[in-house]
């Protein structure tokens, strides 16, 4: 989904011609041996951005890539902050942010998952890269601080962070300092020395001042470059230099006040007027300035200011957008307020109108509010809210909710619904029921001063309101209410309002799905797909197709699921413009899963290779975790259990449900791998943590977890009869539930497990029952060509199938399954270990051989103590030891150290 970004924020400022060379800073240690973090921390006007731009130029000349973000207050919102950061990185190192950007497109993107993907991609790309965050103080705050710290502490060694700020950031500076990973440049270092002051005033500005003049200016400005620049401007062309310097040095007024007054006092009236009137703008362009000043010389004026170095900073390479130097603008505004207090509102109003016409609602609203013109602000919000919500900019709209008094919103039903939408999608439900009720009253008895800017929007409201009520019911766990409100929404939707129908249908589908009503869910999602296709939202059609496919797989209808994915791919190919659509990768993952069920490993692998070729950026938000799960399952078939476990751990970190019920939790899949690895204690830990027991009440959303628990219980060695009986009882109950719910896919797995359990039982009557149960499973599975669910169970299943072939030699299906066993050979173990150590575990092992303490090892590897302990536990388990010294000895024997 295209989100408008202000591209000037990503522009690396040019290094201005005629700078004083400052080798002590530009070529100093901060540049020549940059560390994890370079911090430039000083008040405004100290030349921070100029220094950063010089570094960026030098870094690029040395072959490093540079990603630059000029932050603004809007980046206090994490979604906005990370979108700019990841976009900048992706621009500097193409591809590096693809996966993260895909996730950032979802509602309430999980930042940890975004950063995990980003860090993976950064590590995989060995070239040097600097991320520069200019004006970090504008974005700094509790909403981003922890995540920036996380990113910083996990950056691979070839990636450096450079921050400029007016206030020290909330980052672990002391820790980085202690580790020698922080270079700091502070005000004291940025101040111009006497020599630099002389080089600037006499060299760059060409003023020809005496040594004592220079000393006087240096003393008065204390090397503050903003003041020196203003002083140079005041001195240029002045007759009585000595008199000026004497007056200036002997005055104790605020330097910038004094000097700006000097500078603007010497400008012609039209320039002075331009400067004051445009000082209300955060960014300046010719047309915008024209709108505000009601003149037509904006562009020429900006070029003139640029040439005479009057404190405008170009924001792009084409010199279209500029801004004033912050300090200069601050002082200009105080002059504006004293000289023309009555006009300030008008100026803001003109800026607001210009931005509104230019379809930039955010600055338009800011200026309208600054003008105190609430109706104008409300107009802009009303016209843009729905569009912003569709672009998943709900945080922007949410921010406006608090800016308008309730009585202004009450008269504007279209705006009120937009606000409700933003509250819903930012998870702030508290006031929504009250707002919906009030809106209903207003619509039933419209007041005389009702405002509706676009009449046709009014017809959309009844459907939209019921959709929000359905969503509220879903959030409150009221499935019946969800379906009822969704039905109302569909019947009240305005003709042609396909998106409202689709949203309501999808909500109804979600409620049915979570309740295990798969057929109703499928019907609702199909309706959603029809609406989305009509509205032309093909990527969302693909998103719903993931669910349609999942539903069919659970129902044991592999061919139908396959058809769903293929149909979605066909539709996507029709709508492709410049290459594949987002979501095509997800369909391929689905096809791979079906091939895997049929034990067609080659096809499953080929689909995943296509997915890898498309890249993570072409996936929907769930894609990062889904492809990892699919890949893990393939690794499992190859016998690479620890590889599968590692991928599943990653999948858990990048998990995004995107509102879907989590019916196959990744943690449960990982528990199943633990069972295969023989690590039953850890699998049981998982079950305990999830509070699973064999006598739980059953619910569809926990079915996969309950089956996982049954697997664990059945595998317990020397399990007492009670544990086995519990597992049997649980399986019997889940079987009934799955049968009643029409979940044939699940039923096949249950029957296979029951057959295995009977096969392993010592009771004499059971072998026959085992074969009968397996026969039931095969009857359900044969038509769809299921194979992995049997082959994956290993030798006991082969035994059982062999027995079945002997009992019923004419049935070809079990014979084919038996043949499939022969085709699978587990990967040859490396290092004499059945389950080889992962790269990370080898890192841990090496440090275990040192004399570092546990916490020191964790900090060396930039992981939490808990993660380190998990790695250690894995190492011990794989080496078959239970303490550190034994692990080191064993590892030496095996040649691992």
């Amino acid at each position: 989904m295209p989100n408008p970004l202000v591209l000037t924020k990503l522009h690396i400022p040019e290094v201005r011609r005629g700078l004083v060379p400052r080798p002590r800073l530009v070529d100093g240690p901060a540049r020549t041996s940059p560390l994890r973090l370079t911090l430039v921390s000083a008040p405004p006007g100290f030349g921070k951005t100029t220094l950063l731009a010089s570094w960026a130029e030098a870094a690029r000349a040395a072959g490093r890539a540079v990603a630059w973000v000029s932050l603004e207050e809007t980046e206090q919102q994490p979604a906005s902050f990370w979108r700019y950061v990841v976009t900048a990185l992706d621009g500097a190192a193409p591809g590096v942010g693809a996966g993260a950007l895909a996730l950032l497109g979802s509602a309430n993107p999980p930042v940890e998952a975004v950063l995990t993907l980003l860090l993976n991609d950064l590590s995989a790309r060995p070239e040097g890269l600097d991320l520069v965050l200019d004006d970090y103080h504008l974005a700094d705050g509790s909403a981003i601080a922890d995540d920036v710290a996380f990113l910083l502490l996990h950056l691979p060694p070839h990636v450096h962070l450079v921050i400029s700020t007016r206030a020290d950031p909330a980052l672990p500076l002391a820790r980085l300092r202690a580790r020698g990973e922080l270079v700091e440049v502070r005000a004291a270092g940025l101040r111009f020395t006497v020599e630099e002051v002389a080089a600037y005033l006499n060299g760059v500005a060409g003023l020809n001042l005496t040594t004592s003049d220079i000393a006087a200016l240096e003393g008065r400005t204390e090397g503050w470059i903003a003041a020196l620049q203003l002083a140079a401007l005041s001195l240029t062309g002045r007759e009585d230099v000595a008199g000026f310097i004497e007056g200036f040095a002997g005055d104790d007024r605020y330097l910038v006040d004094y000097l700006v007054e000097e500078v603007i006092g010497r400008q012609p009236p039209e320039v002075r007027r331009f400067l004051l009137e445009t000082s209300i703008l955060e960014r300046l362009s010719g047309p915008l300035c024209d709108a505000v000043t009601e003149q037509d010389d904006g562009r020429a004026m900006l070029e003139r200011l640029d040439r005479s170095n009057l404190f405008v900073v170009p924001l792009d390479g084409t010199r279209h957008w500029y801004r004033y130097h912050h300090l200069f603008a601050e002082v200009l505004r105080t002059h504006l307020v004293t000289e023309a207090a009555g006009r300030v509102s008008d100026l803001h109003r003109r800026a607001a109108r210009w931005y509104a016409v230019d379809a930039e609602p955010v600055p338009a609203v800011r200026h309208a509010l600054a003008a105190g013109d609430l109706e104008l602000a409300a107009d802009v919000m009303e016209r843009s809210a729905i569009g912003l919500l569709r672009q998943r900019q709900e945080a922007t709209v949410r921010g406006w909710v608090d800016d308008l008094p309730a009585e202004v919103v009450r008269r504007r039903p279209v705006l009120a619904v937009g606000f409700i939408g933003s509250l819903m999608s930012t998870g702030d439900f508290r006031t929504v029921p009250g707002r919906l009720d009030e809106l209903e009253h207003v619509l039933a008895e419209p007041p005389a001063d009702l405002v509706v800017l676009e009449e046709h929007e009014l017809a959309r409201l009844p459907g939209a309101m019921e959709t929000y009520r359905a969503a509220l019911a879903l959030v409150g766990g009221d499935a019946a209410g969800t379906v009822a409100h969704a039905d109302l929404a569909i019947s009240r939707a305005a003709p042609g309002d396909d998106l409202t129908v689709a949203a309501a249908a999808a909500l109804s589908g979600l409620a049915s799905w979570a309740g295990g009503e798969l057929e109703s869910a499928h019907r609702a999602y199909s309706l959603a797909v029809t609406g989305l296709e009509r509205a032309g939202n093909i990527s969302d059609v693909l998103g719903c197709s993931i669910t349609l496919g999942d539903l069919r797989v659970t129902q044991g209808r592999l061919s139908d699921a396959e058809r769903t994915y293929r149909e979605a791919l066909r539709l996507a190919s029709v709508h492709e413009v410049d290459g594949p659509l987002r979501g095509e990768a997800d369909m391929l993952v689905g096809l791979s899963q079906i091939a895997l069920e049929r034990n067609d490993i080659a096809a499953a692998t080929a689909h995943l290779e296509q997915v890898a070729a498309l890249g993570e950026g072409l996936g929907l938000p769930q894609h990062p975790y889904r492809w990892r799960v699919a890949r893990a399952r393939l690794l499992e078939t190859e016998g690479d259990l620890s590889g599968a476990a590692t991928l599943l751990e990653e999948a858990e970190r990048v998990y995004v449900g995107d509102f879907s019920p989590d019916v196959c939790p990744v943690a449960a899949r990982r528990a199943r791998v633990l069972v295969r690895q023989g690590r039953l204690d850890e699998a049981l830990d998982w079950a305990r943590a999830r509070q699973l027991t064999a006598d739980d009440d059953l619910a569809y959303v926990r079915e996969f977890e309950h089956l996982t628990l049954a697997r664990i219980l059945l595998c317990q060695k020397g399990a007492d009869g009670a544990a086995r009986a519990a597992a049997y009882g649980l399986l019997d109950r889940v079987r009934v539930a799955a049968e009643e719910g029409g979940r044939t896919g699940t039923l096949i797995e249950i029957l296979a497990l029951q057959a295995l359990a009977l096969h392993a039982s010592p009771r004499r009557s059971d072998p026959q029952r085992a074969l009968d149960t397996l026969t039931l499973a095969l009857r359900l599975a044969e038509r769809e060509g299921y194979a992995r669910v049997f082959v994956g169970e290993g030798p006991p299943m082969a035994d059982l199938l062999g027995a079945l072939v002997r009992r019923d030699p004419g049935w070809r299906y079990p014979r084919r399954l038996l043949d499939a066993f022969a085709g699978v050979s587990p990967a040859a173990p490396r290092h004499g270990l059945v389950d080889p150590l992962s790269a990370r575990e080898l890192d841990v092992l090496r440090l275990l051989a040192s004399d570092l303490s546990g916490p020191a090892i964790a900090s060396e590897l930039y992981v939490s103590l808990n993660t380190m302990r998990t790695h250690t536990k894995n190492v011990y388990a794989k080496l078959g030891v239970n303490e550190r010294r034994a692990a080191v000895t064993k590892a030496r024997e095996l040649g691992l150290l």
């Binding site: 005000a187 503050w224 104790d252 007024r253 330097l255 006040d257 307020v337 207090a341």
Partner: protein, 93 residues
Amino acid sequence: MNTAAPDPDGSGWYEIRLQGRLDPRWEATFEGMTLTTGHGITRLVGPVVDQAALHGLLLRLRDIGLPLVSVCQVETAAEPCPPHHPDTTPRGA
């Protein structure tokens, strides 16, 4: 330093001193604060509704670039902080 009874939200009158003389024009941008100057010091005194407002004001001052000398809570504008001693203030940063 603190002569006023503490308010849980930190609301009350505050006096903020800055090094350097700010033009009286600035008073209009610090709503409700009175700006006086003398001896190379700017003194802003006025009511602050809570801690958030106080921090917002301090950020505005940071963005002007004048060194901050002191912040203290006072009873009213009439009762200033203890006198400031310029000789104990370090030069710049």
